[in-house]
């Protein structure tokens, strides 16, 4: 129903032209006041229904009609009324973010003039702006909640890496992982029984939280495997891990490269099975032996299908010898010029003198200096296990 102001009604009954002009001037004055009210309005509400309703109520006074509503996604904002396509004058608006809406205005007594149609389009854009601001706020809140949950999950995943190191007289062990994001797929796990250190070092394909979640599963499987099958050797440990995780890896279209091994300190021997992992190095003095993979990564085929006739690799350990298992986050890291760190640089770093801890820490410092301002390209994990130079191993 068309709206008339109280002041114009007082002269509405005059028939003479002066009366009509006066009435029109009063209406125009009222409209100007309503426009000022609308232009000066700043909604404090982040609820789109409330914000749009505030605009619409002021706009109704401007265009002098009670039949005014803003439609988004097929519904009139702030009401339960759905939008009927053929109703009234319509003003379609949209923004660069892809949001859109329609202002619908009805005034049966007289059609909207050109200036009023321009004004209605401006009102439509005001309404769209209010909807956009409200939805941006809601999306921001949702994103913040998701980020908080992501950070919590990442922290839990990182906590699954063992915080302790095997402590056997004459044995040194360095293990450290730095994910490229808040959490990653690199992993290591230990077990100690008598004078035997069992270990698993690996890398789940991919980065970030998905890889980290799978990493926690592999660590759990490895810890159980040490308990149940550690005495049977690395091949049994690897097969046990595979039985636990193969289906999960396959369903998630992931795989994990893995080295499973043990160091028998009394016998002075390291044994291992390498499922697709690189780089793996056995270091004696200046000599570096690359330890090749024995079979593909876990998750490609069931280990029981590909490990028939598998021979465990074995290395006699002399004082000072060390086994190095790293992730490709070192060798593939590029400097700002795009040059990768590479295998030769890693091997040189692993043959430097010093304790295993000094060598390990040194590599992390070296790779940080090499990368400079270049972004860390992948998770970095380094595991070094060896016989102290002055103690242990075969003489």
């Amino acid at each position: 129903m068309e709206r008339r102001t109280a002041s114009s009604s007082a002269v509405a009954d005059r028939d003479d032209p002066v009366g009509l002009v006066t009435e029109a001037l009063i209406d125009a004055n009222d409209q100007l006041l309503a426009m000022y009210d609308l232009a000066a309005m700043t909604s404090q509400s982040l609820d789109e229904s409330v914000a749009v309703s505030e605009i619409i109520e002021r706009a109704k006074r401007v265009v002098m009609t009670d039949e005014l509503f803003f439609v988004v996604d097929g519904w009139a904002v702030g009401s339960d009324e759905s939008y009927a396509a053929d109703d009234g004058a319509t003003f379609d608006v949209s923004n660069a973010a892809g949001r859109s809406g329609i202002l619908v205005a009805r005034r049966p007594s007289r059609p909207f003039g050109t200036p009023e149609r321009k004004l209605l389009r401006a009102i439509a854009n005001l309404c769209l702006g209010a909807v956009h601001a409200a939805r941006l706020h809601a999306e921001g809140v949702s994103d913040a909640v998701m980020q908080r949950d992501h950070d919590t999950a990442s922290a839990i995943a990182v906590m699954s890496l063992p915080q302790w190191r095997p402590a056997i007289d004459g044995v040194s062990c360095f293990a450290r992982s730095e994910p490229a994001r808040s959490a990653g797929g690199d992993l290591f796990a230990f077990g100690v029984r008598d004078q035997v250190v069992s270990f698993v070092v690996g890398d789940v394909a991919g980065k970030g939280l998905p890889a980290a979640m799978m990493m926690t599963t592999v660590i759990s499987a490895a810890t159980a495997a040490f308990q149940l099958h550690g005495s049977a050797g690395p091949a049994a440990v690897l097969e046990s891990i595979d039985e636990w995780v193969y289906d999960r890896l396959s369903d998630a279209s992931l795989f994990v490269t893995l080295v499973a091994g043990d160091y028998d300190v009394e016998q002075g021997r390291i044994r291992l099975v390498n499922a697709g992992h690189s780089p793996v190095l056995f270091v004696r003095g200046d000599e570096v032996t690359q330890v090749d993979a024995d079979l593909p990564p876990i998750g490609v085929f069931p280990v029981s299908d590909v490990a028939i006739g598998l021979e465990v690799q074995a290395f006699d350990v002399h004082p000072g010898d060390r086994l190095v298992v790293a992730s490709d986050g070192f060798t593939e890291q590029c400097n700002p010029a795009g040059v990768p760190f590479g295998d030769p640089a890693l091997e040189r770093a692993m043959t430097t003198s010093g304790s295993i801890d000094e060598i390990g820490e040194g590599l992390f410092h070296t790779i940080d200096a090499f990368a400079g301002r270049a972004e860390q390209s992948d998770d970095r994990t380094l595991f070094i296990l060896g016989a102290d130079p002055s103690h242990g191993g075969l003489s």
């Binding site: 890398d203 394909a205 991919g206 980065k207 396959s250 279209s253 992931l254 795989f255 490269t257 499922a275 697709g276 992992h277 690189s278 090749d292 993979a293 024995d294 079979l295 593909p296 990564p297 998750g299 490609v300 085929f301 590909v306 593939e332 992948d378």
Partner: protein, 102 residues
């Protein structure tokens, strides 16, 4: 990375040509091509890797996924003339024993 798919002489096989760097950023697009080909009835995929300069673990995981999907349907993924960098990665990971490579 540029990805192109075309029908081969065998209607159940698609030729997929890859050019550039195949890493985690390119994996979703590669998966889309694979899934589309399989949905279209392909059971075999011949993936050209001669012009791929780098693959990471995510890319390898996608190739393995494609291989499993094809083998479930009685077909296979064949890796065509991998570039030297790709061949090195396949050998280091022992995936050269898992795939059919020509």
């Amino acid at each position: 990375m540029d990805i192109s798919t075309r029908q081969s002489d065998d209607p159940s096989v698609r030729q997929i040509a890859l050019v550039g760097r195949f890493d985690a950023h390119e994996a979703p697009a590669f998966r889309e091509h694979i899934d589309a080909a399989i949905a279209d009835g392909a059971t075999g995929l011949r993936v050209g890797l001669a012009d791929v300069e780098f693959v990471d673990s995510t890319a390898l995981a996608e190739l393995i996924r494609a291989m499993k999907h094809c083998r479930e349907r009685g077909g296979d993924v064949v890796l065509l003339t991998p570039s030297d960098p790709v061949r090195v990665i396949l050998e280091l990971t022992k995936l050269d024993a898992a795939f059919t490579i020509t």
